[in-house]
Symmetry: C2
Subunit: 340 residues, 2 copies
């Protein structure tokens, strides 16, 4: 591969001149510029971004930490982030952690050593080591779909899960449901806990029961977990007339189990989800759900980071985004005459 020396030699000028011509520096003669461009083409020369990065202390690379790229929710988020950055000439490097604390830390090390310009992260394990790593970072960071832990100064972009859960449960209550079950993500999930709390508080405020007979923590967040959790919930309390699922995948799993049991949705039981994945729209599913606006969240996070990169001193405000109720076919008003 030709380097800058080769093109300088080819033209009989100095490497300084070639460099300046390439970078469109104002005080280089137009004619020289043209000659350099021509030589670059002729030699098929490509500047070495590594060398450039070393001297400019800028790599045009940002890191994006993702819990599970196979989860369509995060794939959508990542897409939005990527789009915003690639427009600005940045390369985004995904770090798929599979919620593994070791991988999360590895990703940070990687980011440091490879001199990324900034980071958008969705960590699952905010232990002390992790927080130290983050604090020691001298690169801008924004938390996405997470809250910034205390003691760290970095903005976040998240949905108000508590409020959204409140809204979901209120919707079911307004439809006349009283026996409302909850199928949740693992207890270790901040998001999951927020949604559970929103459910609990709303039930309580309306004088409704929400004890262990109505709550199943599914131990995961995929369709399979949803199936199992729905089965367990039904076993514990066959009188539930509505279910709030902690996310769409769990909701879809619940719908599957109900369909297998020939329990008709929404006639016999209503189900509401959380996320609004594409699959919630499938003809057989038609899941009513709380939408998390993925594109908006990803874009917002990217914008914040871009600001922080261009102005190192600034820490922009965090953004709490509102989820929106999407009504489809999986919920129905309870016929009060039929209920006990």
């Amino acid at each position: 591969m030709a380097n800058i020396k080769d093109v300088a030699k080819h033209l009989g000028v100095s490497v300084s001149t070639v460099s300046r011509a390439m970078n469109n520096h104002p005080d280089v003669r137009e004619e020289t510029k043209l000659q350099v461009m021509e030589a670059i083409r002729a030699l098929n020369y490509r500047p070495n971004a590594i060398a450039r990065g070393l001297i400019n202390k800028k790599t045009y690379t940002i890191g994006l930490m993702i819990p599970e790229i196979s989860d369509p929710f995060f794939a959508g988020l990542a897409n939005a982030v990527e789009e915003t950055f690639s427009k600005q000439g940045y390369q985004v490097v995904y770090g798929n952690t599979n919620r593994d604390p070791v991988k999360e830390k590895q990703f940070l090390s990687n980011a440091i050593e490879r001199q990324f310009d900034g980071l958008i992260i969705t960590p699952d394990f905010l232990d002390d080591t992790f927080k130290e790593l983050i604090s020691g970072l001298d690169m801008p960071v924004v938390f996405l779909r997470r809250r910034t832990p205390p003691g760290i100064s970095a903005p976040y972009v998240d949905v108000d899960h508590y409020e959204a859960a409140t809204e979901a449960v209120k919707y079911l209550i307004e439809l006349g449901h009283r026996q409302i079950g909850f199928i949740g993500m693992p207890e270790s999930s901040f998001t999951g806990i927020q949604r559970l709390l929103g459910y609990r508080d709303t039930m309580w405020k309306h004088g409704l029961l929400s004890d262990d007979s109505n709550i199943v923590m599914s131990g995961g967040r995929n369709i399979d977990c949803g199936r199992r959790a729905m089965s367990k919930l039904y076993e514990r309390n066959p009188n539930v007339t509505a279910v709030f699922a902690g996310n769409d995948l769990l909701g879809i799993g619940a719908l599957e189990w109900l369909a297998q049991q020939k329990i008709v949705v929404p006639d016999q039981i209503s189900v509401i989800g959380f996320d609004n994945l594409e699959y919630a729209e499938l003809h057989w599913i038609q899941l009513t759900t709380m939408e998390q606006p993925r594109a908006e969240m990803g874009t917002k996070a990217a914008d914040l980071l871009l600001q922080m990169i261009s102005d190192k001193e600034m820490t922009p405000e965090s953004e709490l985004i509102k989820a929106r109720l999407i009504v489809r076919q999986s919920c129905k008003a309870l016929q009060t005459t039929l209920s006990i």
Copy 2:
């Protein structure tokens, strides 16, 4: 951030010694090594991978070009590639092209300038400019889910789409179907064409009709396209008893349209897909399909590239992987007494 000079100064040794100690060079005293390690920890020093890459001409980064990361098929492929490489300490950088010829070329430029160690690519536009770019590359390349175009020396990993299509159609014929429709991907798709050809030839060999009344090119490859294509196919030929969909997403779209029309699958019409996505397994879908073994393909491609990286001279053999028929509930034997 501390650099190697700082730790050298801290200890009163030369940077050479620090470098050698870090890299576990044999001829450095054990005691020195320990001291260096201690200093590194004390100063929280992280080696700069950019500087390392510049001098070692090795970045431990590989590029993975993907048509559409939102397509679960490619997400799965990417995952397998990523896993293999991250185990070996490589960072994989995704290039999501959205089948945009400009982005495909940009990704190659990026790879060159950023000095990636190798590339796994799934390009959609193999025009002359692209082929030139590839030929000019002095980095190892493997084609994944594509064939290497003539004139280029690089291995590929792909499924035998033609043979797999043949098998799918044979399966339908063996079930007694004669009026078999085809819903295809765009004509620009090599893969799509191969599957179409497999369908056509098999129909022809069995003396069955496969003309325009039985074939709909859907103009895309997602669920929505499948819905529209199925509707068009049915309009053109209401007598079809079976449909071969060019991929699972099209197949799922077809199933949706049929469900909406209250046409019962598989009693009234059989549908077979291609890919074996997770969603094909959903209770309501249960799509019989030709599986493309994604994990195997991704891992294989990664292994080939790894080989080529360690031995620059070698060009390993390409791999043609066999698709496997996965039987679920969407196909059924035709009751011959009822057929015309």
